[in-house]
């Protein structure tokens, strides 16, 4: 949890990548401590902004030094005022950045085969993770899925950084038509993967967890809950997760996550955009109670 900095980041490069915007900021002091799976929280809208809350983005990559000093890259899908504002920035614009935040993907101690699954911009943090895993001698395969081709991120990069790449799209515009969970069993079986890493929408993370479990692999998933602060002080980003002691608690995904072991997440509590407190969770409301 240490090593987090708050810096004014200067945007030095912004380019479209399909449906997304890929931004590179100079962010001195941030890159040094960052690890794959962590995220940054960006203030949006500038000095006169009515959007008070920071927006969180997975770190796509960092480079601790270089011409500009340390840089951090993020991949942004414009879906609302904050992400649209960020997507519209031009070189030399400044953004206040807090990071690196949250828990990184845990790396296996042994050089075991791993499958990395990304949905949409959820693939953004995986290339960096792939690199770290291959440095440890892991065989790494990537599975990238999206609704349509323009919403895939990093297919070219994937081919460079992994030992194998599978692509799926819902509409068949690229790769196999269907979901990542359709091709995942084959990839796990073929590679004998011990760990499946996932990043993407909640529904996808749940099925990755199920598929991994069915094949005896551990799932490590990076979740994306709505966050107001990103630094652990607001309690808005909670989700029910079962601890080592078997007790389910509403834990903050910004500090205890965003990466969780898939089998620890109480997927049963999520439904149609809401997450209920499981009745067996610590301090759950009594019937008629709070």
């Amino acid at each position: 949890m240490s090593g987090v900095v708050q810096v004014t980041g200067e945007l030095i490069a912004t380019r479209r990548a399909g449906a997304y915007h890929h931004l590179t900021f100079v962010a001195p002091g941030l890159a040094e401590h960052a690890k794959p799976g962590q995220f940054v929280a960006l203030a949006v809208g500038g000095d006169t902004s009515s959007n008070l809350l920071r927006r969180c983005f997975s770190i796509h990559k960092v480079s601790p030094s270089g011409t500009y000093g340390g840089t951090v890259d993020v991949v942004i899908s414009p879906v609302g005022p904050g992400t649209e504002w960020l997507s519209g920035l031009r070189a030399h614009d400044e953004v206040d950045i807090v990071g690196p935040l949250g828990r990184a993907f845990p790396l296996p101690k042994e050089p075991v085969p791993c499958v990395l699954v990304g949905g949409g911009y959820g693939s953004a943090p995986l290339f960096w993770l792939a690199e770290a895993l291959r440095e440890r001698g892991c065989h790494v395969e990537l599975v990238l899925g999206a609704a349509t081709e323009s919403k895939l991120f990093g297919v070219v990069e994937a081919r460079r950084q992994a030992d194998g790449v599978s692509v799926t799209t819902d509409d068949g515009s690229a790769g196999t038509r269907g979901w990542v969970s359709d091709v995942l069993p084959e990839v796990i079986t073929r590679t004998g993967a011990a760990v499946v890493y996932g990043c993407g929408p909640m529904g996808m993370l749940k099925s990755i967890t199920d598929v991994a479990a069915a094949h005896g692999a551990v799932a490590q998933v990076a979740v994306e809950e709505s966050m107001a602060c990103g630094v652990g002080v607001c309690m808005t980003c909670v989700m029910p997760v079962t601890g080592n002691d078997g007790v389910t608690r509403m834990v903050r995904s910004c500090v205890e996550g965003p990466v969780f072991r898939g089998d620890r997440v109480r997927w049963d509590a999520f439904d149609d955009g809401v997450c209920r407190v499981p009745a067996d969770a610590l301090g759950a409301p009594n019937v008629g109670g709070h």
Partner: protein, 318 residues
């Protein structure tokens, strides 16, 4: 020459008027990554109740224009775990702690206060904030601070449990027809000071799904959007004190503070200390940054000490 920023809050002497706001700073460790929490006049903890509480399901928040709506549902570890883990940590970190307590019933407030008094780390507690802006189970969930009698009862019970030298602050909701009458009741019942304001009751509808956005249906509105309501509440209660309609006790101002100028608004309206809540989500070091900005502003205006600025706008009516 530096401005003397010290304040005396009903017996608690603090080197700075700046505080975190309850529920907007967790219990210390998280913000300690961004600044030295001893720089604060006091660290205000998340309202703690007798037992552990999971809080509500999610979504728990919605962003609103210049603010946010939250519906956390007072998630917390319960007083025992709070004492063992959080207060102990704050104690060793050298923080001056203003412990915020809450209850479903007035009795629960008393239980929490009693447990607190007995705790080993009680030495780091500079005061107790009594969050009466929470639902009273006995009265169909009506917020205690909406009713003078219920407010008075809670305050009196808490006052009994705590040593005289520990000031207690009643935290009021602005969602009332007459905030002065609630302030009167609280002070009469033994509150050594008042904290104003808690969030406003608000609601956001998810226009994609056409249903309430937060799982709790309604929620608390906070942030710069509500600052004018906070300034007004502090002003009204301070006016009443000046007119002798209630005894003069220190006011802790909270609501929408993001900059030193915002803090100065509350101070000039009558607040002796200032809490920074939602702005912390935007800038994790806001509580201390605002303090520095406030000090600079006071210096520029030629004030030698903060105390001279408290309530000054009442003397300068246009």
């Amino acid at each position: 020459m530096a401005v003397d920023m010290s304040v005396d809050l009903g017996g608690a002497s603090l080197p700075s008027p700046m505080m975190t706001a309850s529920g907007c700073a967790a219990n210390g460790r998280e913000l300690a990554r961004f600044f030295d929490i001893r720089e604060l006049g006091a660290f205000v903890t998340k309202s703690v109740m007798a037992d552990p509480r999971s809080g509500r399901g999610t979504p728990r928040m919605a962003e609103t224009p210049s603010g946010m709506l939250n519906s956390i549902g007072l998630q917390g570890p319960g007083i025992s775990a709070f004492i063992d883990k959080d207060l102990a940590w704050l104690h060793q970190a050298g923080a001056r702690t203003l412990v915020s307590i809450a209850g479903n019933t007035s009795g629960e407030f008393a239980v929490v206060a009693a447990r607190l008094r007995e705790s080993a780390a009680f030495g780091s507690v500079v005061g107790v904030e009594v969050n009466i802006s929470c639902p009273n189970v006995a009265n169909r969930g009506l917020v205690f601070a909406c009713d003078p009698l219920a407010s008075a009862k809670v305050v009196a019970l808490v006052r009994e449990q705590l040593p005289r030298n520990i000031p207690i602050f009643a935290k009021l909701t602005p969602d009332v027809t007459d905030i002065v009458s609630i302030a009167q009741a609280a002070v009469k019942a033994g509150a050594d000071g008042l904290t104003m304001i808690n969030t406003l009751l608000g609601m956001v509808i998810d226009t994609d799904r056409l249903r309430p956005q937060v799982a709790g249906v309604t929620g608390g509105l906070s942030g710069p959007a509500v600052r004018p309501v906070a300034v007004r509440a502090v002003w009204q209660v301070k006016s009443a004190m000046r007119e002798g309609r209630l005894p003069t006790v220190p006011i802790i101002g909270v609501g929408g503070v993001r900059t030193g100028r915002d803090a100065l608004e509350l101070v000039a309206a009558g607040a002796s200390a200032v809490q920074v809540g939602t702005a912390t989500f935007n800038d994790p070091s806001a509580p201390v940054r605002v303090g520095r900005e406030l000090e600079n502003l006071l210096q520029d205006k030629g004030f030698g000490c903060l105390k001279d600025a408290v309530g000054i706008a009442h003397e300068r009516m246009a």
